[in-house]
């Protein structure tokens, strides 16, 4: 029998293989635009099992204010719990807001920025916050943010660069004592984990807390969906801003890798040129106990090689050849990059003015060459060339960007997080505060 032509065969295969609509899909209701333009929340008879779904579209929220942190609740809320007495805003970079009842227990959690949605879509995590004490909930969120890579577990912080988070407890009543408890719980958590984090905490006593609480109770848990419900333009702007944030993060990471290689090379050079190192042996072959200088340099080089391996998968820890091979390959891959221009871009910030538009094609070419991230390249091309215009595309792309970024952060730092860390003592923490100018 004569073999079908390729397209004929493809046609036949697709006819046979494309699945019939499942009963579950048939029963799934369609979310429609209600009269007046506001979307009705969906009643999911059979929630989708695999992909995390964006949460229901929101109603407006005052939001703004500096700190937000909260757990995120999915559609389900509206429970008859006691009236919330306050709002706790937690800002790490994921920004969330928690409403609290009269006993300082969590009622509802809402995302206040795009990164907050990465936490907000985990319904199990959100459910674990409801009913817990505000201080415990704050620690759970801090823990989640640590696992998600939002805090760097290495380093002891400098005046220029340190981990920080900000909490604000806004209530109609005096809450200094409760705020102190929340701050204390967070500092204790971070010190126990051996991670230097500055925790800034503020209390606000104002009748407007009641209105803010009500607004939070009535809006969507997902920030992106809430913005999308306002207007396509606002969602476009949010998507662009999130893409720019991601771009900036990738650039910082790429520059860190570039500098890490340079620092390891410098340490090796210092070892080789030590006066007691008569044969000029490198880090991998020198006797580390030759003198204190070499011992110190070798310890530092070992630490940086460990970071290079954990963050970027380049294993030059035990072999000069392995390191040199990887180093040469990396150098070749970035040889044509204008690194000074990229440092300047990182300092100025990535935004529409510095990165968007036709006039910055050269900037983007240099950037993508250096960073080489395909996911962002694809999304960025669509956004910055204006071809992604439909709201549903933006929501989908933004959701993907947020989850990609959360995943990338988590993957990048998971190795470092697994390294053993000593708890931070009180004196060391006070010294950290002095170092960063907060004591």
């Amino acid at each position: 029998m004569k073999k079908k032509d390729f397209l004929g065969q493809l046609n036949e295969e697709l006819n046979d293989a494309a699945p019939e609509m499942s009963e579950r899909l048939k029963k799934q209701p369609i979310r429609t635009a209600a009269p007046g333009g506001e979307a009705k929340p969906a009643r999911n008879a059979n929630p989708k099992p695999r992909r995390r779904r964006p949460i229901v579209a929101a109603v407006a929220c005052a939001a703004a204010a500096v700190i937000c942190s909260a757990a995120v609740l999915p559609l389900l809320v509206r429970s008859p719990a006691p009236e919330a007495a306050a709002c706790l805003y937690i800002d790490i970079n994921p920004s969330l807001a928690l409403t609290l009842d009269g006993e300082n227990k969590v009622r509802k959690a809402v995302s206040c920025n795009a990164d907050g949605d990465a936490i907000a879509t985990d319904s199990n995590f959100v459910a674990s916050l409801v009913g817990t004490d505000a201080a415990d909930a704050a620690v759970k969120i801090a823990e989640r943010a640590t696992e998600g890579g939002y805090f760097s577990p290495v380093g002891e912080g400098t005046a220029e660069s340190y981990n920080q988070m900000h909490v604000t407890l806004k209530s109609t009543e005096e809450t200094e004592a409760e705020l102190g408890e929340i701050r204390g719980a967070l500092v204790e958590y971070f010190c126990g984990e051996g991670i230097y984090v500055y925790v800034e905490a503020d209390a606000e006593t104002d009748e407007s807390a009641r209105g803010e609480r009500d607004a939070l109770e009535n809006r969507s848990a997902s920030y992106a969906e809430w913005v999308g419900a306002q207007s396509a333009e606002a969602l476009t702007q949010l998507t662009e801003e999130t893409a720019y944030d991601y771009a900036a993060e990738l650039l910082r990471d790429a520059l860190y890798k570039y500098d890490l290689f340079a620092e390891i090379d410098a340490l090796d050079e210092s070892i080789r040129s030590d006066p007691d190192n008569l044969l000029g042996l490198n880090y991998w072959t020198v006797d580390r106990n030759l003198n204190d200088n070499i011992r110190s340099l070798a310890a530092e080089a070992e630490r940086k090689l460990e970071i290079l391996y954990l963050l970027y998968g380049t294993d030059g820890r035990t072999s000069a050849l392995a390191y040199t091979t990887a180093r040469l390959a990396y150098s070749a891959s970035v040889a044509l990059a204008d690194v000074d221009a990229l440092r300047d871009l990182a300092a100025r910030g990535i935004n529409d003015e510095s990165f968007g538009g036709i006039e910055n094609i050269g900037v983007r070419a240099n950037y993508f060459y250096f960073v080489s991230n395909d996911i962002l390249s694809e999304l960025a091309t669509e956004i910055w060339s204006g071809t992604t215009s439909a709201v549903e595309n933006l929501l989908s792309d933004l959701g993907k960007l947020i989850s990609d970024r959360a995943e990338a952060l988590s993957e990048r730092l998971s190795g470092l997080l697994s390294l053993p860390r000593e708890p931070i003592g009180r004196e060391d923490y006070l010294e950290f505060l002095r170092r960063i100018g907060k004591a």
């Binding site: 004929g8 493809l10 046609n11 799934q28 369609i30 979310r31 429609t32 993907k400």
Partner: protein, 179 residues
Amino acid sequence: MGEGYIRDTMNKKQIDELMTKVAAGDNAAFARLYEETKRGVYAFAYSYLGNSADAEDVTEEVYFSVKSKAYQYRAGTDARAWLFQIAKNLSLDELRRRKRRPDPLDALPGEPAEAPRLPALDLMTKTLGETEREIVLLHAVWGYKHREIARMTGLPLGTVTWKYKTALEKLRREWEAED
């Protein structure tokens, strides 16, 4: 090897009309939309994931997504492109999930599950690069014109036309060699 579409696909206007009805809650329109577009969605998912089970899962997820976001659809925009983008995003999500978990089938002893034989889809997945596959599927299965594909992908029209031609030549050679 035949050129052009595999069959008479619905055009952009017809799909848009269906999607507009879906956005208004018309389940019959959704069922029709499903029948008209499922092959394209499945083909796309398969081309990324390489097996029918995952492709079926992602296909279903695409349409769940359509139902949950139907109210956001604006009449007059390109519903096919919307479906295509959702399928692409979900396929990429699945690929990333795979990287983070071991294949459960690897852990099970015994015979692997019976999977349908899809030699043309497998050949396309194996032979073509991502961009070539996308262009072939958009033109031959989804019914997009080359100019429309150029606009969607950001590639010059000449590049799209050339890539489609060379992709089909590759497929023809490999297909005949398998005889």
